[in-house]
Symmetry: C2
Subunit: 308 residues, 2 copies
């Protein structure tokens, strides 16, 4: 069975780890969000691609949900000593990834090739694709003006109000080589439990991705990032509200309705079934909080069974 | 008293530390070698400028003679894990300097401005100038072909034969802003005990520097990097031989003769006096091995007394 997964960061990493333990990694293609990519000290950082690669390589700091396990921050401290901005936490070993990526990009290597090579060098057998080789950047209009996603999420700790979200550059972007094919050729497409607005939204904003999702012969399943009226983690609630979506499984289904067949929701959201039905989406009930490895695996099995 | 010093790395750092403890740092201008600058993983590394800045900031690893005290190498280890070349040892805190410099250079800031700013941010009151804002690169012809200085010195551990040395780019380079003025306005110009071929040589190869040294009203003093027929440290001996210079204080004096007034040599080289005299250079005898802080200070005082 070939699986294509659309993924953000932390939440996606857990489900992907479960999937990768259930199907052979080679059968798994991850289409990663690059809308929150950032340039930090002149280095190209791709937080979501790295979180996925680190998770599949068994290197992720699972307590924090980002970065490498056993990380140190000596370079960051020295940067602070030089008076540089240090609100974006780059660990010493994590820096190797960003330095390597930046160097390759400056030599003209496309992000998709860099990403595949970084995954391979970390021993990841799954295929990790950025949604696009062209820059697409999520920007949020707040009382302090337009912010990049990392300025909003890390620097401002997602505490400022968001009036509007845009995906700058999306109009001119093309899906990275392999993205449309992976969706078209898959038996199962999984939309990971990621923020629909700032993790999945940028992927969907790349022209051609929604068309691929609407026409694939694959079963398209999403796992809700919303449980009991609130996001499992991160600012998905506030951002869905900013986009006029209810903060509920129905809001998630609304965002994905034209092409989504199944939404896996938590037991406590059982009452949403009829509303999802009206949107043409079948609800599958499960324990969707992945609080440990066993639950990651269990949820992965639920998702894989959706094709049956 | 205004002092201008031409400096390489390790040996220069010791004398400069002594000078900076004897004259006010503000009176000291260091003209640093950039011939051994290197691009490592896409980062612009200026080993000699950094060694000088770290020494004057009290941050230098004095046991190794390069890099920062108390350094760690986690990023380097992660780079090795990614399969990158790791023969050039970049420490985690040292990396902050290179990332900061590279970012500024890519934004179009000249190296001289970047260098001054990095020194200021490390609390260094002395002025540190690169010899030139344009790239000049020392290259060495060996049985393995042309090598950069770092390939020769660090990767090959200076163990390969050198047939020829060139300073690529020197012809088109101009002295960085302030270099000619610092030499012209100084009361004392000190050529630090650095390798005449690969540390001082590149500085002298920048058009205008030798003219400034030949016409300055300052007393021009060098400290010999050669004691008893051998270099105090590093490959100066082999490189002087490759350039047809005897490995002796007389060889040093020959390289600097047209503009050098005084050469400070070690007690054990007292016999060189007459030969130096024939080259028009006055010998000053001292204990020139700077094995501790006291000796750095003592030698600095000897150098400063040369103007009397």
């Amino acid at each position: 069975m070939r699986v294509a997964a659309i993924a953000g960061g932390t939440g996606a990493a857990k489900l992907l780890r479960g999937l990768a333990a259930t199907v052979p990694q080679r059968a798994l293609t991850v289409i990663g969000n690059t809308g929150d990519d950032a340039e930090v000290w002149g280095l190209h950082v791709s937080p979501d691609l790295d979180t996925v690669a680190y998770a599949l390589a068994g290197r992720l700091d699972t307590a924090r949900g980002w970065g490498l396990a056993g990380e140190t921050f000596r370079c960051l401290e020295a940067m602070a000593g030089l008076g540089a901005e240090t609100w974006f936490n780059l660990g010493d070993r994590d820096l190797a990834t960003h330095i390597w990526r930046t160097h390759a990009l400056r030599e003209g290597v496309p992000l998709s090739v860099v990403t595949a090579e970084l995954a391979r060098r970390q021993g990841v057998a799954a295929r990790i694709l950025p949604m696009s080789d062209e820059p697409v950047r999520t920007r949020l209009r707040t009382p302090n003006g337009w912010l990049s996603f990392q300025e909003y999420f890390v620097r401002e700790k997602a505490l400022v109000e968001v009036f509007e979200v845009e995906y700058a550059g999306a109009g001119a972007a093309r899906p990275a080589p392999g993205v449309v094919e992976a969706i078209g050729d898959a038996d199962l497409v999984v939309v990971c439990p990621s923020n629909p607005v700032t993790s999945v939204g940028p992927v969907l904003a790349v022209p051609g991705v929604v068309e691929a999702l609407a026409t694939t012969r694959a079963h398209v399943v999403a796992v809700s990032p919303i449980v009991g009226g609130a996001a499992v983690s991160g600012p998905a609630g506030a951002l869905m509200r900013a986009r006029g979506l209810p903060v509920s499984p129905a809001g998630v289904a609304t965002a994905y309705a034209p092409w989504l067949r199944t939404l896996v929701i938590d037991r406590q959201d059982d009452g949403c079934r009829p509303e999802l039905g009206r949107l043409g989406v079948t609800a599958v009930i499960a324990d969707i909080l992945m609080t440990d490895r066993e639950r990651e695996l269990a949820l992965a099995r639920v998702v894989l069974r959706c094709t049956e």
